[in-house]
Symmetry: C2
Subunit: 206 residues, 2 copies
Amino acid sequence: MNAFNQLVMERRSANNFLPNNPITQRELDEIFNVVKMAPSAFNLQHTNYLVVTEDGLKEQVQKAAFGQYKVGVASAVIIVTGDKEAYKNTEKVYEGLLMLGILNQQQYDDEVQDVVSLYESRGEEFQRDEAIRNASLSSMLFMLAAKNAGWATCPMIGFEPDKIKNLLAIPDHQEPVLMIVLGKEKVESRRPRGYRKPVGEFVKYY
Amino acid sequence: MNAFNQLVMERRSANNFLPNNPITQRELDEIFNVVKMAPSAFNLQHTNYLVVTEDGLKEQVQKAAFGQYKVGVASAVIIVTGDKEAYKNTEKVYEGLLMLGILNQQQYDDEVQDVVSLYESRGEEFQRDEAIRNASLSSMLFMLAAKNAGWATCPMIGFEPDKIKNLLAIPDHQEPVLMIVLGKEKVESRRPRGYRKPVGEFVKYY
């Protein structure tokens, strides 16, 4: 089987982790250097990752995740947020294209203006949708990149966003989208892989 | 470089496609057989893919996407939707675990009840968030699986959801989350890859 397909088949949402497997910042940085290639709308890079490895804080995060065991035993607990105000960085993101001469000043001004007015005119619901959409695209890439580096993950929505925002001092414009726990999987705790619908049930051809 | 990292680096959001490169349903099915391994909350598999390859319909979809050129020239245009009522399938998704004896009847009943009441109690905004979140996770896997099979893609939000829903007879409980165009990239139309923030700007360690 092709290496990519094998990676996808081997990735599982881990139920449990082996304790005492610290992950270094250097190992995490290598994963994030892959993750930064994720696509995002207008290349605004809405996604931020807050990585908790320190035991005391991890314990508090676990409490804000209804005490779930796998949070406590994970090597890292990662809160993925989406920036509802990412469009405010449009100028910075497009600056390089201006400096390289790919866009002239007029084109640059027009593109920046188009992006900013799209987000402003479509309002808060759209800005929040975009935060969730783009942070989720990035999160899938994170889980695959982590697996490729030898780490199991599990995406979770079972946590109290307000408590997490408080603990990690997350500003209001950052929407918590997912919690991802990461570690070395405790394979004995595995359930069989969950049922998957056949392609014909989720794909329709026109 | 590791094969996965190379795949990620080579994936680009394509600006333009070479015309007349039809993709077969069989090739698409192979991609979707990888995509079905995407994780989803409670394994509810919220995501659906509506694939348009027929020229007449593609032209109408292009009109609903503000006439964007790359839609017309793509081999396939894919609307990704998230099912806001995915939790109504909980029983079916967990049935296998009951039949295999992984869950006894009481555990099965409890798990089904927990999932359904979570979605019901958190209401419509949460159900819609979940549709966007899970369909986006799946979409990232789709774009990588397509690239791995030799096809370029571009995720797009520039389309009119109501017109698309009308054209493809999408029911109200299905939320259009992304349009993805797929084809053989016209490499001459490439811009340099967009600027990416360094890891230190989107990752914070605690």
